[in-house]
Amino acid sequence: MDTDVAAITVIFTEFYYWITVALMFLIHIGFCMYEVGASRRKNHMHTLMKNSMLIPLVTVTWFFFGWWIYWAFPGGPGITGGLGHPIPDVATSYLPWNEGMGPRLDDRISGVFWAAFLLFSWTAASIVSGAVIERIRSFAFWLFAILIGSVTWSIDAAWGWHYSGWMVELLGYHDAYASGVIHAIAGGTALGILVVLGPRLGKFAADGTPRDIVPHNPWLVCIGLFLIYTGFWGFYVACNVPLATVGFIDGQITGVTQTATTIYMTPTTLGAITVNFLMSLSGGMLAGYTVSRGNAFWTYSGGLAGIIAASAGNDIYHPIQALIIGGIGTVFMYKLHFWVERRFKVDDAVGAVAVHGYAGFFGVVIAGFVLWGNPSSPYEGFAEITPWGQFAGAMIMFWGLGFIPAWIIAKFLAGANLLRIPREIELLGLDFGSNQEAEAARQDVIAAEKQPA
């Protein structure tokens, strides 16, 4: 920071990421409201705690190994480079015992960048949380939260959401605002758990017909989704590098024009992503309202699915493309949700697999067609964007790093009787014991107050 321009660039970048962190906090508040609203009254405090406690657990594990994985795995390792490719010293400096993890005056960006990525981790884990409410053990869920928040999403980001990721280099994988690297993997993870965990008691009739387990507070669910939209602004801008200066990107962008870039260092603008965010949200809400015949939950979920469906290419889509992709992605996820529910008896309590997983998968694949032939990176030798590269990427995200690891761990936990709560507790409700204690305490106070002075 030896010139005024350099200082302003660094401080602006530091402040920029800091703001994204504060905004993304709202995503988590939204998820908590949404999940608690969707649960039945007998489970709501437990539901809140299950989601809230992923915050410290994913945070500490992100410090211990998640951040290091992101910087250590872009080359595979062993696909396009070794551990730490392309700059092993950077990965090493982010081991939890190395000096890169502490405050230092010669690096003002790593801390806020670490935190912005961490908030993505919370989001990924929180997506899974909603799907499995009212019957998963907290212990098991928190292991899954760490799995996706600090391991699998970190690997997928290194592979497909890093300027030197092997998927970008070899497949031309493009996923600017994380349709696949956050949403598809989270949906796949949730589905992997759900098929082992099983439905909530009473969800399906004897003939397999699904019953509607009504949220105890639909209004809270919708406002929670509204808050997720709000926090999503932080998520979007955190996916950008705000100011690539002259000489940045190893001189790959020539001339004197400075620009915002995606995580791949490909140019975009805040204006572009702002318009596309709103248009894809609108496409999703319109489609959600139409396909669900005005159902509030699916209209709000449609807005989220619309954004997610268009996110892979929202850095350069035309706004009308974003609108249409958002709309089609929403219809796709809605139809698939009910088909999977009926066909496979999967009880996804909040539609998380659909809104995030199916819409995210769709978004990655559709970007391959709409952006076909576009350069995935400013670096020479990187593959261009193609439908097959995007399809392979979507498969890796949803199935390879999402469904399969979660399914394996869920099977292991189920075998150890550590996955699902006991049947009696599920029937009583997870809050039953604490509610009884609270009522006893209340009666005790009333009795004391009634005693003569």
Partner: protein, 72 residues
């Protein structure tokens, strides 16, 4: 004498890197933190299992379950 590498701020800040206390003890701090994290999970799973067992014992009767189901 300082717990940090800094004895004075009256220097060119371009020469300063680390500013936290305990430079050189990062490995020990990391080991302690990781052990505490793992121990927390061990404690938590035992606590959660104990709670379920106690609630099943206290409230797992058909009457309580019936009341809970109808009350929701």
């Amino acid at each position: 004498m300082s717990t940090t590498p800094i004895d004075t701020w009256a220097v060119d800040l371009a020469d300063i890197t680390l500013i936290y206390p305990g430079v050189g003890t990062e490995v020990y701090m990391a080991v302690v933190a990781i052990v505490l994290w793992l121990a927390w999970h061990v404690w938590q799973v035992k606590h959660e299992n104990a709670i379920y067992e106690e609630e099943k014992r206290k409230y797992g009767t058909p009457e309580h379950i019936d009341k809970a189901i109808s009350g929701d």
